[in-house]
Amino acid sequence: MKDGFRQSMAWLHTWTGLVLGWLLYFIFVTGTLGYLDTEIDRWMQPELPPAADNMTPTRAVTLGHDWLQANVASAKEWNILVPSDRNIPQLRLYWRDTDNERDSVNLDAAGEPVAARDTGGGQRLYRMHWQLHYLPGWFTGWLISIATFVMFVAMVTGVITHKKIFKDFFTFRPYKGQRSWLDAHNALSVLSLPFQLMITYSGLVFMMFLCMPLLISAFYGGGEAAEESFFDEVFLEEPEVTPSGEPAALVDLAPLIAQAEARWGAGRISHVGIKQPGDANARVHVNGLYSAGPLRTSPGMTFDGVTGELLHERAASGTVARNTRDVFLGLHEGMFAGPLLRFFYLLSSVMGTAMIATGLILWTVKRRQKLDSKGEGAALGVALVERLNVGTVVGLNIAVAVYFLANRLIPADFEGRADWEVHAMFLAWAAMLIHAGLRSPAQGWREQCVIAAVAFCAVPVVNALTTERHLVHSLAMGDWVFAGFDLAMIATGLTAAAVAFYLRGKPAEQPAGSRRAANRRRDASVSARP
């Protein structure tokens, strides 16, 4: 459509990137935080004891079973999450009662329930990565699918657009306005390209059952029953067992756990599910670790809940096609990653976040220079994008800090406090968007960096004032989850302060650009870190 293939691809890159850029930025920020989901969970429930992942599965299941039997014996289904590694730090029970309502409790090492504040925690923040918030599920599913696909198109066209992809590795020309932004955008994208391609394509793989339903119909026929039979075949689901209505005592669980551990290795159990406990048709499902490797699946065993007979065994590894899918999902989530690899996951996703931020800013800087050289004022489109950039690139991060502050400041007995944490986050974002709309872009960048500095530095202070687990205490105890969280907040706040200081006294009409390239890039990346 333009002259030449590369020009067409550059055009496509520019516009696909712009149209959904802010949504993609939100997805990348919440996704980055998702790599620290259980750490954030732990910080957001300071009442819970430190991780209990040295508890043996047998001990955890015994404690869990005793509590469930004593307190919710009539439930339809019991589940015991075994504290096995970083992904499951606490002994946690959840169940469904006869009305199918789900409830849960955490137990300490003695098997006593621990009262903790109601919170969405890191999990709710992480779920926004693909569920967003306030929107109906079907709509969100399609919106995320489209955004992911648009991201993939933007990645591929971005690569095609580059003539000198290798040279871009080593090119950074600071203090040169538009060119600096372009260099920053290129360097971030090229250095982390394999990660960004993997994360975007595997994102599509996550959404494929939703956005490519016709392929199921093509092989299984239309309708819900056909879809069910497809899922049963792919995931080797066993047929649901209905309760018999005859009471029968549940089998002793310890020998079943021992049998599973003998198969998969000591301690390698993450979940035990008991269907219709106390019924003659009870079933016990024992699942291995999901996080043993990049294959996102776990081995499983199903036992008769009365006799203890092994009815069914499921291997973690499936067909080549199934394994391909599971590896993409496993690479995307990185649940298997230890501290070092987790650090690189974080670094790569922060670079992805900064890639989107620099791309959005580049769009405005380019057009602003053209407008200024013609002596024209701001065109409406450019002015709008400039303000959305301020209110999202900085504003969304302020909203995340507010989410953490709300966790500490909303009273523990406040009705619906977990929902209000989220409302506080989105109200803060809305306020930042309004602020950005009322100020010139240069003022907006500077002032929101000041707000971000205050908000992030306030998090450890408020934590110290409202809980016993302040930074000095955490450091003395060697509690690196709490200390790391507080230190990351301080580092993010100080970086925002440094950027604000750098931006001081710039003429108000000058667009955010030129001399600020390096700093803005750093700001965008650091503020995405929790």
């Binding site: 459509m1 067409s8 490519m212 392929l215 093509a218 092989f219």
Partner: protein, 88 residues
């Protein structure tokens, strides 16, 4: 106007092509029915991306449509045959 036409070609035409190509590739590369669905889906995204690039790189919007509709029609026959019991 031309951009709208290309956008429709990319989204709708590209989707149609990726579905029929996914069905044929899934069938061709798999020995079992559930695998065919998984392979077809994972393959379809690659086709969809290619279709998107095609729709915005041709000299005219008409060529964009033609270049997507011809392979779709060509693959629709085999795809139809597969849906009528390729694995039965």
């Amino acid at each position: 106007m031309a951009v709208t036409s290309r956008l429709l070609a990319a989204t709708l035409g590209g989707y149609a092509l990726s579905v029929v190509a996914g069905v044929v590739a899934g069938y061709g590369l798999s020995v079992a029915r559930p695998d065919a669905v998984l392979v077809g889906m994972m393959f379809s995204f690659v086709v969809y991306t290619g279709a998107f690039l095609w729709a915005f790189s041709t000299r005219s919007a008409t060529r964009a449509w033609l270049g997507l509709m011809l392979p779709t029609l060509l693959l629709a026959g085999p795809a139809w045959w597969i849906t009528q019991g390729g694995f039965a």
